[in-house]
Amino acid sequence: MSDRIQRSGAGRGGSGAVGALVARDLRGDLMSAVLQIRDLTLGYRDLTLFHRLSMDIAAGTTLAVLGANGSGKSTFVKMLLGLMDPLSGSLTWPQGRPGDIGYLAQMTEFDRRFPIRVRDLAAMGAWRGFGYRTGLDAAARDRMAAALDEAGVLDIADRPLHMLSGGQLQRALFARVIMQDAPLILLDEPFAAVDQSTEAHLLSIIRRWRDEGRAVVLVVHDLSSVLDCCSHALLLGGQEATHGPVNDVLTPDRLVAQGYLSESQASWMFRGTHSTAEHANV
């Protein structure tokens, strides 16, 4: 197993050893960290999700967060947003906490019947910049047109939300994230209810974010979308958190050990290979 991989789990290594492993993360050395997570234990009062995770989230990287249901993926995202506190450990923002963190919640949490149009939904992303009273200025309008265009919803910008399909709504929500223009972007299951062509389109937007030097964190279920766009992975499950480059983390052994795949699923998915390296397209 490569030394670039870093595992945190119940009863595993001290913080010194973990720190050394983080320092050897190759990309971490090259890219500046947006967020440094140290000795993080996450959970609720009577349920610990994982122990002592230390990792950096670097600018220009895409991190996939994977795990079985209930392993803490969404909780991890909520913690990054500051909506809940970790049980222990620290978060430090070397470049200061961003004023705005791009965020896309699971689509099931969204009220589709709310009476606004696609362009108003996208404008919400720039809401903080305009406060309570003022409208969008010319520059923001241009930015919004570009965002709607990139997300592929410019032609339906005046349509109310209840007339959109699931894929169109997700594109509109992506336009809002584009409008947020944030250095750190968190996406919670962005592909859960969209078709293949929409997924491909949204993946291209995520790649652009990465190339612009933003840090993107995605909660995903489907391994193929991970391999398409993610440089790093964080695998949660069995009260453990494993972090590292995608090829090192998403091995059959790891995926089975942390309850993400069953033995038979893993042997079918990885048939004829010994590691995920040959699938990787990072």
Binding site: H162, G167, A193, D195
Partner: protein, 300 residues
Amino acid sequence: MYDLIVEMWSFAFMRRAFVATTVLSASVAPVGAFLVLRRLSLAGEAMAHAITPGIVIGFVTAGLSVMSLLVGGLIAGVGVAILTAFLARRTILRSDASLASLYLIALAVGIFILSAAGSAVPLKSFLFGSILGIDDASMVLVGGVATVTLLAFGVLLRPLIVSTCDPVFFETQTRRPWLVDQGFMLLLVLNLLAAFKTLGTLMAVGLMILPATAARYWASTITGQLVLGFLFALSSCWIGLTLSYLFPDTPSGPAIVLVAGGFFLFSAIFGPLGFGRRMRKPSVSKGIHIAQIQQEERAQ
């Protein structure tokens, strides 16, 4: 018809009632719109019951003055709103169940005290309102509440839209999301108190909810929803008051709400988002069905 209007306007109490309900419509319409959009329609009704003991205690101890109404109602309403939020956050009960429990207790307390206080209490006008009851102080109350409400909406409108449309997103955008929730609840209580004299505690929510739900059948934008809701509320009040004048024994509250109910039924049948047209486009991907089912399951 013309004679009727002239005769009606010759009475000062009718002129007062028309002015008061016109101002009231402008005030309750935006509150009602957001009650409906925030899925708090029933919570509004519950809150109307919850302020009853406050009004009753104020009435029994200090008489039926505007100050006793305002102070008693505010204490009861804000108390129940804060307790509800507290229960929902610290215990397993969701906010609807917490509110239901608390308002039932409050309502029982209110009726108990009202009955114990004896027959001096005008129970019918208490529950259903009376156009005769609108004195100068009540006019000031309605005007004051309307001013506060409209000013507050000037500041709160955008945060309210964001937090109603996507509460999870809104939580990430501000450090104090509860400020909007609780501020809105305060506006709700104030408007219920303002509507109390004309409509009574049981009917007060009717003027908020029914014009707003009727407007939902026509409006695809927030602006449309707010403007149309106001027009429906205003028409309900004017027509309802006239009805109440024509049939002198009928209380004004039910008359107004009945007209609003008529607008609602008409809109449900003929509105573009009602039965008149199918709400969703027929061609949707498989994914949307899954999302819808999950959403409905979550809502249960």
